[in-house]
């Protein structure tokens, strides 16, 4: 296990380094932030001063080396437009995104897996087929369209839920969360549903396939022959076996949820980091874009690691340590 961890971490460092070069170079290629940041009627002297203060007068390799030097010390640079550390800005926004992503994930698990199991067991009934049709919709409708529909139906016509924003937050250990106040929950429901839709469909499909596959297996027949109740067979034995692929896939997808909640955050003006990065791309706020992408990569690496570990717990046949 230890050898596995060390190898994974050293690989991750290389990935991060390569990523940082790609991202830094890529962002550099898009355009020059000074043309957007500086007021168009600024005098050339004023422009030069700003360019110098932002460190944009230096050649790319020099800017990159300086960035790398600071990054090793945990400083990912100051945002051009906010004049605050990029890392701090992202961290400030992270709780909102995490809350949204976790809620969406829980929704996907709590609705998706049972629905998928029902669809698997009763695949020929109307109920089973309806569930599958729903999952096709969930897969194929674009997120932004569904988000707008949610707003039009639930906020504008029915007036049940707010159309956007985060609502009232309560602080736990200094982290503001919205799921502890009714107002906060009301604000959370629509964006979380919007974000959960795709993942719910995914969970439905995975668990349906799993159930159908497992029901054919010998151990199920054996259990039936032994006289176990259907509830126990499905609820315990089958459930345990379908969880392996479900956990793996959903775990990977969780990273995607956090990193790409951008669309949902923009539509529901949810103050998460996805919205921050979109705004930053708009004004070419390089430090924030770079920091965001690097944090995202780190997050994917960590999530994959956790998935591997959970996987090994669920299925002891997988031995992480002795892959070589």
């Amino acid at each position: 296990m230890l050898a596995f961890l060390i190898r994974r971490i050293s690989q991750s460092v290389v990935v991060l380094l390569v990523m940082s070069v790609l991202v830094f170079g890529g962002v550099f290629c898009i355009g020059n932030p000074v043309d957007i940041l500086i007021a168009p009627d600024a005098t050339p002297a004023e422009r030069d001063r700003a360019i110098k203060e932002l460190g944009l007068d230096k050649p790319l390799p020099e800017q990159y080396m300086r960035f790398l030097k600071d990054a090793v010390q945990g400083d990912l640079g100051n945002s051009f437009v906010y004049n605050e550390p990029a890392l701090k800005l992202i961290m400030q926004r992270m709780p909102a995104t995490m809350e949204l992503a976790v809620t969406a994930m829980l929704m996907a698990v709590f609705f998706g897996i049972p629905l998928g199991m029902v669809a698997g067991i009763k695949s020929d009934t109307l109920l089973g087929r309806s569930i599958m049709r729903f999952s096709i919709l969930g897969f194929s409708l674009p997120t932004f369209w569904v988000g707008l529909m949610f707003i039009i139906i639930f906020s504008v016509y029915l007036g049940w839920l707010p159309s956007g924003g985060r609502g009232e937050t309560v602080e736990i250990l200094g982290v503001p969360v919205s799921f502890l106040s009714w107002d906060g929950i009301r604000h959370l429901i629509l964006p979380a549903m919007n974000l959960a839709l795709f993942k719910t469909s995914l969970a439905i499909r995975l668990s349906r396939a799993g159930v159908q596959e497992n029901l054919q297996m010998d151990y199920v027949k054996f259990a039936r022959a032994k006289g176990l109740t259907n509830t126990r067979i499905i609820g315990l034995h089958v459930m345990k076996n379908i969880m392996i692929p479900v956990v793996t896939v959903l775990g990977m997808e969780f990273g995607g949820l956090i990193a790409f909640a951008v669309v949902t955050e923009t539509i529901f003006s949810w103050p998460g980091m996805g919205k921050l990065v979109i705004d930053s791309i708009g004004v070419l706020d390089r430090p924030v874009i770079v920091a965001y992408l690097l944090i995202t990569v780190t997050m994917f690496i960590i999530i994959n690691l956790i998935v591997d570990i959970i996987y090994s717990i669920l299925d002891p046949r997988v031995r992480l340590g002795d892959q070589n």
Partner: protein, 523 residues
């Protein structure tokens, strides 16, 4: 079990009631942009400048047509050619109760050039002030290097902060609220980045009393979401209603719309400088001498553009055909300049006169995420030019790519916008039409490199003429030269629309700001 359920229901009921009953005097605004900072001297962009007016005041105020009015200064006059004297308002207090004096003004002006890492600073507004003299706590004199007719205008460009609270304060201290203490109508309570800014009323405000005890400003950048937030009643008012939604909202009986022309001019900039211009070519793609240098060709292009059609069809009526750089009725605008009439036949004659009876090839470049319907306008213009024989291709791109390339002079013909926040013409003449001159700081956005020594001289003379009538006369003369020459081709001024729930009305502003003092309660 039943009891538990009842308790849960009761708790939920409390939350819901609590949420709806509290704050009867609350105003929630859904605005398109979010400030990047609450430090009023950090970043000179309109979202920041607007938001700083909730908390701070300026020496000189601009009304909703950008005319100057007394603010923290009650009057001002030139004492000699190089000295202006400002009389300050008596009895004004900052939110913390400390009195406002000339010391605060001096402190503010001295701070402006020293805000670290400012991406776009306010230094230009104070750089000509050589000396600041405090005559008494309520009288202050500014000595300038050269006569400065625009000094009162400059004083209307930045807010006054409190020396006591902001001495040594960083931009972060303003963002956290620690140093964000002004004399304005509202005091900052809290900024939850990306979600909302909460203000409470300053009950000791010297100016007009506001009816709302609390104002919540929510940044909602997505157009569709902002409109939905208004329709669902989540917010009381929104700005920048997208043109496509105007008709739908106007039919809604629960809402009111108000509009105002803006100072945002959409114009065409053309390369009038180089013989070999990058995106112009002959009909077979061969290199030709840049035809845009010929006045007749420029005139033909201007005549070929149907401004009324663009305003009516592409902008859904939310544009006013433009004749010069700022809308009619502003100080220093020419009454002789009129928006060019659509005249394709005349355009063809001019093209033939200039030696291009068969036209030539041209690419129009423009942004696609900067101005209202920018890419569509570029398309329409390309079609109109193709009709008179100039075969025009369209190339639009995100603003983050576009402006950098445009400033590097990679384009021959481009669609750009300009907003005159200061409410007078000299800054846009200086930036767009004056000969590019890095040393003197002119022509910074003159991407066509138009150059006219007469215009340069007239503008420079105006900038040191203190007498307002003479100053305006020179500015008008310079405008007529530049626009008459078609150094730029004006297309239209954007019209801004605000939407609010019934019972509120907005007295629209040409600068596009949404300020509490311009909101009227009608019932």
């Amino acid at each position: 079990m039943r009891q538990k359920l009842l308790i849960v229901l009761a708790i939920m009921a409390c939350f819901t009631l609590g949420a709806t009953m509290a704050h009867a005097e609350k105003l929630t605004l859904g605005l398109k942009g979010e400030p990047t900072s609450l430090d009023p001297h950090f970043h000179n962009v309109s979202a920041n400048n607007m938001q700083s007016l909730y908390v701070f005041d300026k020496l000189v105020r601009q009304d909703n047509r950008q005319k100057l009015q007394p603010g923290l200064a009650t009057s001002w006059k030139p004492v000699s050619d190089n000295v202006w004297e400002f009389k300050l308002r008596e009895g004004v207090k900052f939110h913390d109760g400390s009195p406002f004096t000339a010391e605060d003004v001096k402190f503010t002006i001295e701070r402006i050039p020293n805000v670290p890492n400012s991406p776009s600073s306010f230094t230009g507004f104070v750089s000509n002030i050589q000396k600041i003299d405090i005559v008494d706590p309520l009288t202050i004199r500014f000595t300038t290097e050269a006569p400065a007719p625009l000094l009162p205008r400059q004083m209307a460009a930045f807010p006054i902060i409190s020396k006591k609270n902001a001495e040594g304060a960083s931009t972060e201290d303003f963002n956290s609220g620690k140093a964000c203490i002004g004399t304005g109508p509202y005091a900052l309570v809290k900024w939850e980045r990306g979600d909302k800014i909460i203000y409470k009323r300053n009950d000791n405000y010297w100016g007009e009393k506001m009816p709302w005890e609390e104002i919540i400003v929510r940044p909602i950048t997505n157009d569709g979401t902002r409109v939905a937030a208004l329709k669902s009643g989540d917010v009381d008012m929104i700005n920048f209603v997208p043109p496509a939604d105007v008709d739908g909202l106007a039919e809604n009986k629960k809402l009111t719309l108000s509009e105002s022309p803006s100072t945002r001019l959409i114009y065409l900039h053309l390369d009038t400088d180089r013989d070999d211009s990058p995106t112009v070519s002959g009909n077979n793609g061969e290199k030709i001498k840049n035809p845009l240098k010929d006045f007749r060709v420029r005139k033909a292009i201007s005549k070929a553009i149907n401004r009324r059609a663009i305003a009516g069809r592409i902008m859904d009526g939310l544009a006013v055909p433009a004749s010069q750089m700022v809308p009619d009725g502003y100080e220093g605008t020419s009454k002789r300049l009129k928006a060019e009439e659509y005249d394709p036949k005349g355009a063809k004659v001019l093209l033939a006169d200039a030696g291009y009876p068969e036209g030539f090839k041209l690419v129009i470049h423009g942004p696609n995420d900067r101005y209202v319907n920018d890419a569509d306008i570029a398309q329409a213009i390309a079609q109109m030019l193709t009709k008179i024989g100039i075969k025009t291709e369209v190339n639009t791109m995100p603003k983050s790519v576009y402006f950098g390339r445009a400033s590097k002079l990679e384009f021959s013909f481009m669609l750009v916008g300009w907003a005159t926040d200061t409410g007078e013409q000299s800054n846009c003449i200086g930036a767009l039409l004056h000969t590019y001159d890095k040393e003197k700081g002119f022509g910074s956005s003159n991407r066509g490199r138009y150059s006219n020594p007469d215009l340069d001289a007239t503008l420079e003379k105006a900038l040191v003429t203190v007498d307002p009538a003479k100053h305006n006369e020179l500015i008008i003369k310079a405008t007529e030269m530049g626009i008459g020459d078609l150094g730029i081709i004006p297309i239209h001024y954007q019209v801004n629309v605000w939407g609010s729930k019934k019972g509120l009305e907005y007295n629209g502003r040409t600068d596009g700001y949404t300020l509490p003092r311009d909101i009227k309660v009608t019932k």
